[in-house]
């Protein structure tokens, strides 16, 4: 420590410290997911982290840079990616997603700080288009024996089609697992799911999206430590619930209520951990609100009127792509500066 005269500028935490704290915040979600879906999710997380680290290391070596794997950011991307995949997602496909996530989503643009979009979502969008059947195969939660037995699709041989899950699920002591997420049930069959279930996460869904409450609490940890822009999360959630509220008010029989909207699908995970990606979001005071609003609005429009039942991923990617524009048009005037004559 060194003593200095004023001004006493506070040292902002380094990238590495922030990133490590985000990983801490993600750990409870990972743990809950492993508890809920079992050993398959553990393997999914491990494969994703290992592949991401290897890919980043390899690309750094190929391009003659010093490896940047020590700054934890790649671990965040890897964990987030794994949390957005279905629990029984074939591990080889998860490796493909991880490779695309780091190689295309991050390193191709120049590494941390230069990515245009959230790398985890780039990886997920790739496998969504590449393996549409596997990424929409859901498995029941809290199965007995989940810590001893893999979900059979997880261990599919690389490059081969995973066997259908229906038979395996039918052999389990369950009554009426529909094989669909709460969102899909609502959208295609107008079957609502209890909000309490959605809050605590006793539903089918992607590995880490089920418990809205847990994600929210982990988000609060980051906000308290001032390591996350709460305004983005707030505007995503506000606009999403407002938009769905309008539709719910118009016709309660088809459209879900705002609470369902907030707690179902990947909205909470997306709003807390992905929309707030520091690199791919705008930095201007107005920009963050507009950016969040765009995500919230587009998500609901895709959910209600698109072909897919979930729209958070595409909404965030779209907003990521438009964030330079949002930043540019919302530049605050420098205090005391006058408008240059003849412009604007």
């Amino acid at each position: 420590m060194e003593l200095r005269a004023s001004p006493h500028l506070r040292v902002s935490p380094s990238v590495e410290v922030i990133m490590r704290n985000v990983v801490y915040a993600l750990l409870p979600i990972c743990a809950f997911s492993v508890y809920q879906f079992g050993i398959s999710v553990f393997a999914l997380l491990a494969v994703s982290v290992i592949t991401c680290l290897l890919t980043e290391n390899l690309i750094c070596r190929l391009s003659g840079k010093t490896p940047t794997t020590g700054d934890w950011s790649v671990v965040i991307s890897a964990l987030l990616l794994a949390l957005t995949l279905p629990p029984g997602f074939p591990l080889w496909m998860a490796a493909v997603a991880s490779f695309v996530c780091v190689a295309v989503g991050k390193m191709l643009f120049g590494g941390l700080g230069f990515n245009v979009m959230n790398p985890a979502l780039v990886g997920r969008a790739f496998v969504q288009a590449a393996f549409p059947a596997s990424i929409t195969s859901w498995t029941p939660y809290m199965l007995p024996g989940r810590f001893a037995e893999f979900i059979p699709t997880s261990l599919a041989t690389p490059f081969l089609r995973p066997a259908p899950l229906a038979e395996w699920i039918a052999g389990k002591p369950l009554d009426g697992f529909s094989g669909a997420t709460p969102l899909a049930l609502m959208k295609f069959d107008h079957v609502p799911t209890d909000s309490i279930q959605l809050l605590i996460g006793t539903t089918a869904g992607s590995a880490g999206e089920t418990s809205a409450l847990l994600i929210f609490i982990c988000g609060i940890y980051l906000v308290v430590r001032k390591m996350m822009d709460w305004r983005i999360t707030a505007s995503v959630l506000l606009v999403a619930s407002a938009t769905s509220g309008i539709f719910y008010w118009m016709d309660q029989s088809i459209y879900p209520d705002p609470l369902f909207t907030l707690c179902s699908g990947g909205l909470m995970l997306g709003a807390v951990f992905m929309a707030t990606d520091m690199v791919a979001s705008p930095v201007t005071p107005w920009g963050v609100w507009i950016y969040g609003a765009l995500i919230g609005f587009v998500t609901i429009i895709i959910r209600l009127f698109g072909g897919l039942s979930e729209g958070v991923m595409y909404a965030i990617l779209l907003a990521n792509a438009s964030s330079p524009l949002i930043s540019a048009v919302t530049q605050p005037r420098i205090y005391g500066a006058t408008k240059p004559k003849g412009t604007e």
């Binding site: 549409p132 529909s178 072909g307």
Partner: protein
């Protein structure tokens, strides 16, 4: 651009020479296009006819001959054999020249774009006896299963399409249900993972059958029940 810099002041050609040049080129082009059109027309028509017949004979099993009809609220009109482009329904006949059923088109919005289907309707058992997808751009691996999935296609071997007592609409609207949830003969067992597309096919059948079948029953008298089969007829 070339040549412009060599001459100081390029002589402006008279506009008549420009017009003549363009006209000559256009006329030559027109001639070539017409020539190509005339040469390929019989082949193109043959191809279209074959594609259509393949579809009609798929949805109306046992059929080997097709007749073109035009059906609207004014009646059912028989069209000549080669004007299939104007027809909107097609009657199928078997080897003996006996009427087997009617092939009708339907369409509905799928996941990517409009899905167009052709289905066969049998008067005898008042049901749909076959369905084939004419046009779709659904997601490969998911939505396009509706064209290949044998269990899904089995729905259309006998899909109830009875009309109500007044013959004004379907007695039970055709509907796509979740896989394994089919209990009524007018329900289509959907494909999990191709929910939107299999629902679109259900909607296409429901809308088209609901509109066309009442008309078809109303004007049934204009339909030829048997047709003479000449030997060597295709």
């Amino acid at each position: 651009m070339s040549g412009q810099e060599t001459s100081k002041q390029p002589a402006r050609p008279r506009s008549s020479s420009l017009i003549i040049a363009l006209t000559a080129i256009s006329m030559t082009s027109g001639l070539l296009v017409v020539l190509a059109f005339q040469l390929t027309l019989p082949r193109i028509n043959l191809n279209k006819q074959r594609a259509l017949e393949r579809a009609v004979f798929t949805v109306l099993p046992e059929s080997t001959v097709r007749k073109n009809y035009y059906l609207d609220t004014d009646g059912l009109t028989l069209l000549p054999d080669d004007s299939f482009a104007q027809a909107n329904v097609y009657a199928g006949y078997n080897d003996q020249g006996t009427f087997t059923g009617m092939a009708i088109e339907g369409s509905a919005r799928g996941y990517q774009d409009i899905v167009k289907v052709l289905y066969g309707y049998s008067f005898e058992n008042q049901s749909i006896v076959g369905m084939t997808v004419l046009q779709s751009s659904e997601t490969p691996g998911l939505g396009d299963k509706v064209e290949t999935d044998p269990e899904f296609l089995a729905n259309f071997i006998q899909l109830d399409a009875r009309l109500n007592d007044a013959s004004s609409a379907l007695a039970n609207p055709i509907v796509t249900v979740k896989r394994g949830k089919k209990i009524h003969p007018w329900q289509i067992d959907g494909i999990s993972g191709a929910t939107v597309t299999s629902k679109a096919i259900g909607a296409a059948l429901r809308d088209s059958a609901g509109q066309m079948l009442p008309l078809l029953v109303k004007y049934e008298s204009s339909l030829e029940r048997t047709i003479p089969i000449s030997k060597g007829h295709e």
